[in-house]
Structures are given as structure tokens and as C-alpha cells.
Amino acid sequence: MRRIGRQVIFYGILFGLWFVLAKLKIWPPYIFPTPWGVAESLGAGFQDHSFWIAIGVSMKRMLLGYGISVMLGMVLGLAVASNKFLEDTIGGLLVSLQSLPSICWLPLAVLWFGLTEKAILFVVVMGSLLSVTIAMEDGRKQMPKIYGMAGRNLGARGFKLFWYVLLPASLPFIVSGLKQGWAFAWRSLISGEMIFVSLGLGQLLMMGRDLNDMSQVIAVMILIIAIGYIVDGLVFKTVERRLQNKWGLAPAT
């Protein structure tokens, strides 16, 4: 309760400050937007469906790009975790590549694919693939060895061993990596969408800039934060908690 109280007071003061500064009209509205202007933009954006369309387009790209990187990351991560040679070679490369901000892949993607859907997808995949792969590798290593032995002991081999034992056994350990992968993918997507008429949220952001419409810029930013928060804080948290409960790993509360 005290936490919520503090948060209400904090955001109240922040909002009040914004309101007062906007009222004083120190800066023109295309530099410092007003709260009512942002609210109007939000309303208008949803009313003329442009926000809905942008969200739909962005989410579709997200699901596709993130889906690809989860699949690839799973295979790569497992391969690296189960083979000493791959770990020493590809494993090291992956860690060093992770220090590269995903937007750095954009020039390369544009040269390879042009200003197309594929270029954006490529950036999204590159942005999240590494963290999914590393999460998968870590999960495989953190997973208690007993499960693998018990599985083999009960006659599980090859793909069955992976699908029915190793994957579920490492799920609680990889879910935080999957969450991180999602966050990276989300960032990469918005950056990628900014570069051309791509219909996504990133492009709406750039459109606001092109039109000197600061209210729209802020409105879209709020939207991006909200979606990120909903997926990250609600969807992934719930999945994480469910997994931990089911696996009997939940801390006693």
C-alpha cells in the first residue's frame, strides 16, 4: 500500500510539473508538448484507427521476428551447450556479438534486403537471437543433470530426450532469457521501423517528427512503453510465475 501511495504522489508531482510548465508557455508546443495536446493526439490516433493499424503491423513483425529468433536461438543455444567445440568457437563469437547494438545491423540489412519488410525482420531477429541463444545455453547448463540422466535411463533418446526432458527441464531457467530477448526485439523493431514508410509504431514516431507534431511523438512513445510494459510485466511475469509454481521452484510467500 505504501508503495502504491508513493507512486501516486510521484507521478502526481511529475504530471503537475508538466502541466504547470506547459501552462506557462515558456517553450513553443512543438518543442514542449502540453498534456492536453498529447491526450488529444492519443484520442485522435485511436479514433482514426492509425494507432490500431500501427500496433497491428508492429505486433505482427514482432511475433514473426521473435518467433524466428526463439526457434533459431533454441537450436543454436542447445548446440553450443552440448558441444565443447561449438562452445569454444561459436559460443565466444556470440558473446562478443552481443556487445553490438542491434541497430548496427540496419545498414547491412538495407544493403542486403533494401527498404523492405525483410530488412526490419532481420534487425529484429539479430537483436533478440543472441540473448535467446545465450539464455538457452545457460538454461541447459543450469538445469540439474539428474533430469537428463533420468530421461536416458527411462529410454528417451535424441529428439525425444530433447523435447520431453531437456527442454521442459530447462524452461524455468530460459524464461528470463526469453523475456530479455523480447525486450531487445521490441527495441530493435521500433528502431528498424523508423527508417522508412513501414506503417509501424516506429514510423508513426518519425511522422510526428516530420510534421513537427511533438504531441504525437509523445503519444506514440507512451504507447510503446505501455505495450512493452504489458508484455514484459504482465505476460512474461505471469508465465514465469506459473512455470515456477508448476516446477515447484516458487519461493515460499
Binding site: Y147, A150, N153, L154
Partner: protein, 305 residues
């Protein structure tokens, strides 16, 4: 000594002369007559044979000999207990038979066939059980059958059968972390039995349980063993438990593990942990074991100096 009134006279006959020796009910290197409650399939042909098994580990550049030239034959349907101090390689021995680990030298034969890989004819119940927490009790039990591509109908029927055998039928939809230690132990037993192995390998399965639960599980294991006629190789550090359960007790030495001695336990079944004969037999074995335990303690002190 007055005869125990709780015991039937018939089961006492072979062991009535308690004065003769503290080792009543125990004959070295001799296969005895079948006691009252034994499986039907005891035969002299070895079910499992370990031939010159040695295992060495590389530890910090030096070689550690864990098991040294183990020779052991296990009869089909026999309940064999292996005891020894911690660090004698008991668990390693089971992992070898299960095919989860390869010996450095020597050969393991099951029904005359060399063991190369894990097989569902030999199921190991791990000390930590290794139950799958993401599966329900019933799903755990049917796991091995699922891997063997047994039809769903048959799986369900057998799962039900084995869960009833361990008295857990009403917990089939629970998750394993919702159960008590003793119940989890029974799930592991049902899961192992459901794959219908010829040989059941058990690695100190009851070590972490309270005394009452352990007593109960001893009774159940003995009953299930008698009903199913499986060959059981049971590792424990508890000599009384070994005498309580085993047809034969094999004593291993501390590092490197060698077979120090074998004891035939010819006490009638069902046995009980608190029976005088069990305690007396255990004491005789314990005297031999104590020497090895001292060695293992010494090694531990050395390591900590």
C-alpha cells in the same frame, strides 16, 4: 534365549540356535534354501555379471582409482544389497550397470549381453529420484512407456496398475513437489516398475526419509519384489537396511572400492528392522564395515588439514 512369540515356529527352525554365534542366519559363500517369501524365479544363471570392473577418474591431473577389479554375479530374482562407506563407489557401480557411465576397464553383462548404453531392461532409481516436476504423478509413471511408444490405452492401464501397487492411485494428478518425501519415493518406484525392467537398481533410495516412512517402504518394496520377481540391486550405507532387505549383502572397501566380503542373509521373510536376528546379522557385517568407515573418515580429515 526365548523364542520371539511374534514369529511363527516354522520360520525359526533354521536359526534356532542363537547361542552358537553372533552370525546366526548368515552363511558365507553359500546359496541357501529358499526362504518363505521369495520370488519364484531365483535361478543360478547370473542375471547381471560384473567382470573385472575398474573405474578411474582424473582429479586435478592425478588419477583416482574409484573401483578396482570388481567381480560380482547377481542371480535373476535376487535382492542384492551393496554396502560400503561413502566414497567407495557404490553409486558409480549402479551408474555403470544402468549404462549411464562406462567402466575404464572390464565388462558388464546382463543376460550374457554386454552393456553399452542405457536400456529399459535396467532402471535406476536415483538417490535424488529425478522425478520430472513438470509432469503429474501419472505422467511421470507413464514416461518410460511413452518413450517406448506403447499405446495410450495400455499406458493408462499400466500406470493405474503400478500406482495402485504403491498406493498412490488417488494422487495421480498431483505434481511431485506437492507430495511428501515418502510418496515421492513411491512415485519413483512406480515409474521404474512401469517400464517393466528385469533389473531394478536403487541408489540409497530411503536415506532421506524418516524412520516410520522407511519401515513402511521396506515392507512395500519387499512385497513388490516378491510379487513382480524383479532382480534388485540396492545400494545403501545402512547395514541394517541391507540385512532387512537383501538375500545377499556385498561389502565394498573404501577407495578404491573392492568387494571386501559377501554375506548370504538367510533370515526368513518378511523381515523387520527391529528383529533380533536382523540386528545380530547387521552387527557382524558392521564390524567389517567399521574398518572401512574409519578409513574414509581418516581420508576426510586428511583432506581438511
Amino acid at each position: 534365549m526365548t523364542p520371539n512369540p511374534l514369529k511363527k515356529p516354522a520360520s525359526q527352525s533354521a536359526f534356532s540356535d542363537h547361542r552358537s554365534t553372533a552370525r546366526a542366519g548368515m552363511v558365507f559363500w553359500k546359496t541357501g534354501a529358499a526362504p518363505a517369501l521369495v520370488p519364484l524365479r531365483i535361478s543360478e544363471k547370473p542375471k547381471v555379471a560384473l567382470q573385472g570392473i575398474s573405474v578411474t577418474y582424473g582429479v586435478n591431473g592425478s588419477r583416482l582409482l574409484a573401483l578396482d577389479n570388481i567381480e560380482l554375479k547377481v542371480r535373476a530374482g535376487e535382492f542384492l544389497c551393496i554396502v560400503g562407506p561413502s566414497g567407495c563407489g557404490k553409486s558409480t557401480l549402479l551408474h555403470l550397470i544402468a549404462g549411464l557411465q562406462k567402466p575404464t576397464s572390464g565388462q558388464i553383462l546382463v543376460d550374457g549381453q554386454g552393456v553399452e548404453a542405457p536400456g529399459t531392461d535396467r532402471i535406476l532409481i536415483f538417490q535424488e529420484l529425478g522425478l520430472f516436476p513438470w509432469l503429474t504423478v501419472a505422467e511421470n509413471v507413464e514416461f518410460g512407456m511413452k518413450m517406448k511408444n506403447i499405446s495410450k490405452a495400455e499406458r493408462e492401464e499400466k500406470t493405474h496398475h503400478y500406482l495402485r501397487l504403491v498406493h498412490l492411485a488417488q494422487f495421480k494428478d498431483s505434481y511431485t513437489h506437492q507430495l511428501s518425501g515418502g510418496m515421492r519415493q513411491r512415485v519413483a518406484l512406480a515409474r521404474a516398475l512401469a517400464t517393466e525392467p528385469d533389473v531394478l537398481l536403487m541408489d540409497e533410495p530411503f536415506a532421506a526419509l524418516d524412520a516410520q516412512t522407511r519401515d513402511l517402504l521396506h515392507d512395500e518394496l519387499e512385497r513388490i519384489w516378491a510379487e513382480t520377481g524383479r532382480t534388485i540391486i540396492f545400494v545403501t550405507h545402512n547395514v541394517r537396511e541391507a540385512v532387512r532387505l537383501g538375500d545377499r549383502v556385498v561389502l565394498l572397501t573404501f577407495r578404491p572400492g573392492r568387494v571386501k566380503r559377501e554375506f548370504e542373509v538367510e533370515l526368513p521373510r518378511p523381515r523387520h528392522l527391529e528383529e533380533v536376528d536382523v540386528a545380530r546379522t547387521a552387527r557382524a557385517i558392521l564390524e567389517d564395515l567399521r574398518e572401512e568407515i574409519n578409513k574414509s573418515l581418516e581420508a576426510e580429515y586428511e583432506a581438511h588439514r
